[in-house]
């Protein structure tokens, strides 16, 4: 039985993931996996939460969402992340 309430008044969880904010970038963080020590500081400070770090695969950035703020590059103690001008 249909109610009179449209689904549109609610939003499903985590659906902002459909919005790829990577298109905002001017600068792109480029990670040197050799230099990365997997300290996880970058993971902790990314406002988008799209950096994953593991001992095996080191630092991984989801460029679909990265806005290019540079906070990861700033915090990296090993200077493993460098901000480069994005070429589209």
């Amino acid at each position: 039985m249909k109610s009179s309430v449209p689904k549109l008044i609610m939003a499903e969880p985590l659906t902002s993931a459909l919005n790829h904010t990577g298109s905002w970038r001017v600068f792109r963080p480029v990670a040197d996996k050799e230099k990365c020590t997997a300290c996880t500081l970058c993971t902790n400070v990314c406002p988008e939460g799209i950096i994953t770090v593991s001992r095996e695969t080191k630092v991984d950035i989801d460029y679909n969402y990265c806005k290019g703020c540079g906070m990861c590059a700033e915090i990296c103690p090993a200077k493993a992340i460098v901000m480069e001008r994005e070429v589209k």
């Binding site: 549109l8 939003a11 499903e12 969880p13 985590l14 659906t15 902002s16 993931a17 459909l18 919005n19 790829h20 904010t21 905002w24 993971t43 902790n44 400070v45 990314c46 406002p47 988008e48 939460g49 799209i50 950096i51 994953t52 989801d62 679909n64 969402y65 806005k67 290019g68 703020c69 540079g70 906070m71 590059a73 700033e74 915090i75 901000m83």
Partner: protein, 299 residues
């Protein structure tokens, strides 16, 4: 996954500490929570219909009433037996906490209901375009307290919300900072383990409003703490239980010079006087909270 409860794709500004803080709060609080959110940056950039960044049940309250909406949710959970398992969090910015939301926050605190109130303090009404708030620090250049030929920016001080909350006998009061993520998460967990009304104020630097480059968000937050301007402490039942001590005192200049919202203070005599006042505030905080005291000295 660092975005299990808070998805990317939200439209926060690049380098926004509030989005970082929200993500960290949810990581620490876990899935068994309901969030009520006042009008402001966080609410707007996470929920443009039909999308939402939230992975926990979430409701927008309007501007001055998030504490009251949270009170109602808490009462409903007590009524249907979910209150042991599910916790209620109320999120607000400057306005929703200290200005328009002050009345309902005071009511919640007075009733002592089981709600954790989190204030995302970016020191102005950022969502509507950087207007002055009760949490804007003195000397701050905002669009409604602009620096000008006859003005050094905001004249008045920053409302001492932690003290006001402590005076309400909140069971737990803490200040936190997005630049200290582990400390922030620890405080969220601690608060949620305690009964009653709790208050945590998180300083969340805003690149757009404070006028600094987004990459320096963590630095800005750190300097706020290291100068003594935003001391990190915890209180239980009105008494300070823990502070984050400083290894050394940094001059407020290190912090203020990073942000163009204070640049005008370095260009006039009146500005210089204000700078001295700001240094005094920092010094008073350091004294009051014993931020430079060595551990031995306390014995």
């Amino acid at each position: 996954m660092s975005n299990q409860f808070f998805a990317p794709g939200h439209t926060a500004c690049s380098g926004c500490a509030q989005s970082l803080a929200a993500r960290l709060v949810l990581e620490a609080a876990g899935p068994e929570i309901i969030v009520a959110n006042a009008t402001g940056c966080l609410e707007v950039f996470t929920t443009r219909a039909p999308q939402s960044s939230w992975g926990v049940p979430w409701i927008h309250s309007l501007f001055e009433n998030v504490s009251a909406v949270a009170s109602g949710i808490e009462a409903a959970l007590r009524a249907d037996g979910r209150s042991e398992k599910v916790k209620v969090l109320a999120f607000g910015g400057d306005g929703g906490t200290a200005d328009i939301g002050m009345g309902s926050l005071s009511g919640l605190m007075e009733r002592g209901q089981d709600v954790l109130y989190v204030c995302y303090d970016n020191e102005a009404y950022m969502n509507t375009g950087i207007q002055r708030s009760g949490l804007t620090p003195p000397g701050g250049n905002t669009t409604t307290s602009p620096a000008g030929k006859k003005s050094i920016g905001k004249l008045e001080g920053k409302k001492d919300m932690p003290a006001i909350m402590a005076a309400h006998k909140a069971s737990y009061v803490a200040t936190a900072n997005a630049s200290y993520p582990q400390d922030l998460k620890r405080k969220i967990k601690k608060a949620l383990s305690l009964p009653g009304a709790k208050y945590i104020q998180i300083l969340v630097p805003c690149p757009l409003g404070w006028r600094y480059e987004g990459k320096d968000t963590i630095l800005a937050g750190k300097l706020a703490v290291e100068t003594g301007l935003f001391p990190l402490f915890e209180m239980e039942n009105g008494v300070v239980t823990k502070v984050m001590k400083l290894k050394e005192k940094k001059s407020v200049d290190d912090y203020l010079k990073l942000q163009r919202r204070f640049a005008h203070l370095y260009k006039s005599e009146a500005g210089k006087e204000e700078l001295a006042k700001i240094q005094t505030i920092a010094d008073q905080n350091i004294e009051k909270f014993g931020l430079l005291e060595k551990e031995e000295a306390k014995a």
